[in-house]
Amino acid sequence: MTHSLAIETQDLGRAYKIREAKKKEAKTLVALRDVSLQVPRGELFGLLGPNGAGKTTLIKILTTLLAPTAGWARVAGFDVARAPNQVRPRINMVSGGESSGYGLLTVRENLWMFAQFYGIPTKPANARIDELLATLKMSDRANTKSSDLSTGLRQKTNIARGFLTDPQVLFLDEPTLGLDVGASRDVRAFVRGWINADRARTLLLTTHYMVEADELCDHVAIINQGRVLACDAPANLKQRLQREAIFHLEVSPLKDSVLPMLQALPGVCQVTHHPADDRAALDFILADESVLGAVINTLTQADIRLLRLDKRAPTLEDVFVNLVGRSIEEVERADPSPA
């Protein structure tokens, strides 16, 4: 790859025509709008946003599976719409929560089959399969039929398939979706190791796990409702909230009327409310620490007991809340449709 940018998009957009049952007129759903991104080679780039934000649509466009309806995109220096046959030998994709191949084949056979589709001769393919399975801690399952694997192992096989062809640009769509904590940690370590091993490789990762994006990515784009709201290194994104004060409060259950009162206080930039059975958690982004007094006064006057108070360093979650006005959880609760 001679091009210095692995991925480049300009004003990229995608609209779907949706015909609802029993209605004659088609509705237009805009899944992606005006997305302009530049991802240099060697970078682990994160797309962060709630379900339905447009992450999968963007990946589909970049992997030549879907044509954009506006703008353009280049991957490995080639236009995805005009030169898909140049893009495809240089990429691969793994979608989390999915398995690939055929249940009647063993793990090794499935991986060998996909290696053939990329023109990899059997000997190097087998050597690579051995290495990948060892790294993913599943060498002992190489000869197990895929239909006999657990969900987590199927997903690991799918991940191995993506890395097997040594793509210049790899797209990982929610790779840890549905994996347990240990398996997720293995996958994250593997992803980081892969990119570090050769800086000509580029990896685009979508996730709605903030910690995952924070831990792994060199740069992160925050996406919501089809738009990119911010794009920078995680540290720089968090730096934006450096001037603000971030507090986490646990209080007795909140009455409905209290939240609007808190939101209306001068100096309160954002409040997110996480109700639980016997308590409620409140995350505040305040213009400065002095606003905290007014917050506590308001709670006390409303007979709300303060159970715990922490001052925190900003996280990507706070950045998202600051940009969108709601947490990822709240956005997903309000519109649970997947992308």
């Binding site: 495809r88 999915e98 056979e109 589709f117």
Partner: protein, 280 residues
């Protein structure tokens, strides 16, 4: 993370060939893995063959008709394979999430379809041969092959045209989505009837037989009957050379149409974005 040597990857015709072999593999090896297929895919069709043999015997039919039933019954395996494992296959691949992976890979989708066809043909030939051997032994069928080269040529052409048709239909069935299941069901018994799996199609009206000849197995079976049974030639719909010419034309038409429709399906899939969506 281990540092692996850079990969040398084949391109062009070598990649095409690798893809064909890769996609044929699950059918060549995977489908033989559980020995139970010998029972379910040889014994069951033989039961159906036996029922039709006994019907002919109840009608006091000439003994050659028993041979027609054995050969025709074995050939149903190819039709079922083309319907359920070729025509419907891209739809199943979509549902399993494999179709998107095939599209983003650098190979040609035509090579994927060809791999399915080669693998399916191999696995089905084993099954059909099993039914013919078992049926011929059980019912003491007598064969009199007049020309082995012609027989092999007819079989090869009929299979190329038939699997070419399956490759073409795979794109059509994908576009029709769930209706494909019903269409495959619809195309079972009516095709057994029209293609003359259990009797010579010469007994049909000329135009019905001619229309049924669009299914390559119709003429393939008719020509094979003429070449392996003593009275076959008198019961043939058209002469074997004419049937060979028509089968050759069908091969070209179906393979060209398969390529054209596959390209159309891929463009439509990328434009509309729905053909690679699994419904899970």
């Amino acid at each position: 993370m281990p540092i692996l040597p850079p990969l040398e990857k084949d391109t062009g015709w070598r990649l095409f060939l690798r893809t064909v072999i890769g996609r044929a593999y699950p059918r060549v090896v995977g489908m033989q893995r559980e020995r139970s297929w010998l029972f379910f895919e040889v014994m069951l069709p033989t039961l159906a063959v036996a029922a039709y043999v006994f019907v002919y015997r109840a009608m006091r039919a000439p003994e050659e008709y028993v041979g027609f039933v054995v050969v025709g019954g074995a050939m149903t395996a190819f039709w079922l394979n083309v319907l359920w494992a070729m025509s419907s296959q891209l739809y199943w691949e979509k549902e399993q999430g494999n179709l998107a992976l095939y599209i983003i890979a650098p190979n040609s989708l035509m090579a994927i379809l060809l791999g399915m066809a080669v693998g399916g043909l191999y696995a089905t030939t084993l099954r059909a041969a099993g039914v013919i051997l078992l049926g011929s032994w059980l019912f003491q069928v007598q064969y009199a092959v007049t020309s082995l080269p012609a027989l092999l040529a007819v079989f090869a052409l009929a299979m190329t045209a038939l699997y070419g048709m399956g490759m073409m239909l795979s794109s059509v069935f994908l576009l029709l989505s769930r209706e494909a299941w019903h269409l495959s069901n619809l195309a079972q018994e009516p095709i057994y009837l029209l293609s003359g799996f259990y009797f010579p199609i010469k007994h049909f009206n000329f135009w019905i037989a001619a229309s049924a000849s669009i299914i390559p197995l119709t003429l393939g079976l008719d020509a094979m009957r003429q070449l392996v049974f003593p009275s076959g030639a008198t019961l043939g719909f058209l002469s074997v050379p004419v049937e060979i010419v028509i089968l050759s034309i069908l091969c070209v038409v179906f393979l060209v149409a398969a390529q054209g429709l596959l390209g159309y399906m891929e463009r439509l899939a990328i434009r509309e974005g729905r053909l690679t969506e699994s419904r899970r």
